[in-house]
Amino acid sequence: MLTMEIAGLKLKNPTILAAGFLGTSASILKRVADSGAGAVTIKSIGPEPREGNPNPTVLCWGEGLMNAVGLPTPGYKNMTREWAELKDISVPVIASFYGGSISEFVEVAEAIVENKPAMLDVNIGCPNTKKHGAVFGKDPETAGKLINKIKEVAGSIPVMPKLTPNTDNMLEVAKACVDNGADAIAGFNTWGPGMVIDVNVRKPVMGFKTGGISGPAVRPLMVKGIYDLYEKIDAPIVAVGGIMYGTDVIEAMMAGATAVEIGSGIHYRGIDVFSKACSEMEAWMKENGVKSLEELVGSAH
């Protein structure tokens, strides 16, 4: 009832584990797959080992999380055992990755492609390091060039850039990616970033001072972004941002998404947020006489 296809990936349901959540090892990815996710994403892989930012790196400030984990990674060279074990996972495994330059992105992509992930999730939207991430996602030309180069080494593996919402150029960046061969577009990485100051201590609380905002508080911003993307680009869209309930998934689809990622929802509803959202979708579909999710995509336009 919930099956979907996106960029050639067949999903038993449209809920995907968002990058950076619980994606640190094969065993936890397997656990998430067993909790009902339609696909899972490996935490963004970088070119060299990286410790990330000092704690606090992830906080919940109410109706949202705030994070500046800072892309810690063992580095693609230290993941051989992990890759071997990923073979046991019953759903598609997507690989998220990043670099500090176009050539680093390509270097990492090449290494990852050898392990045949189901999709490449290109992280051009992370606001939590100075050198990586969003710097590649704010300028259409740079983003287009990057995707072009990655497509050259990706072979038959679909390539999905994950956008930052924090730029006037969001739609132009998306268009440049699609024009350069992106097979799908994911929207979005975290918002802001934001900052919280402890008034007693008189200091920003996050170790990195700031942190990208995610979770229910950003859902309306995500929906608007997906709605706009659907009208402007010609590629399947994966919605990310504040999705927690079955009706949130349906809302994102009506705005234009073909699938969704769930991250912060794990904090609010538990690791089984995937299967919970899926049962809620099924209940809603029955109540509203909807047979297939496909008819919902873009239906709010």
């Binding site: 640190t24 656990r31 990330g52 704690n55 606090p56 109410g62 063992p74 201590v201």
Partner: protein
Amino acid sequence: MPTDFPQSYRLTGVRKLTPTVKAFEFAHEFDFVPGQFIMVWVPGVDEIPISLSGPNQITVKKVGEATNALHSLKKGDYIGVRGPYGNGFSIPGHRVLLVGGGVGIAPMKALAQYGEKDFTSVIGAQDKTELFFRQYFPGLHMCTDDGSAGEKAFATVVAERLLKDRKFDAVAACGPEVMLKFLFQICEKANVPAYFSMERWMKCGIGVCGHCSVDPTGWRVCKEGPVADGTVLRNSEFFQYKRDQAGREVEL
């Protein structure tokens, strides 16, 4: 008000317990289960997981940057705390053997104090100066590596002997992972259920980042843990390897 956000409270008391361990009390009482931990924000430095040794108390060993900074704080200074997190000890049966090694004595003190069981206790440290909180432990057996207080022996050895002598329903322990490794073998041999408070590198503390999860089940120390029983410990990465701050595997 945010729940999982560090709230700053003033330190209401700082007490030196050993040359390397201090107890800190702060102006907030957590409603907690012994074995649960909090994330302690040392402003401007770091945020680290620390077990509650009491409702408004943590007991911390100086081992690096954050714990050093914490040790330099005085009564009236602010720290940030969030939690309590994790499962805490939930032990079936009545006769429980408590084993605390080094600063692992701290959470065991909370269990001894609030656990409402028939406890027999073993606490061990390098030497006499590093033993603390002894007044809280019923049926206490002390031991030190150099024999400067109590028996000259590892806590594991004392525990093994006690397990032979009497019947216990469970063993609850916290301490260095190598100590727990041997203690677990002893428990398995004696066929007594083990409940061990474990450590892994933590970033979020709320079960979302995955950094503290262990192979092969993806059990999260910060969420399903930190107290692991035999089903979690057996055939796991525990006592073998762990992941560092970058996520690289390192031998124990």
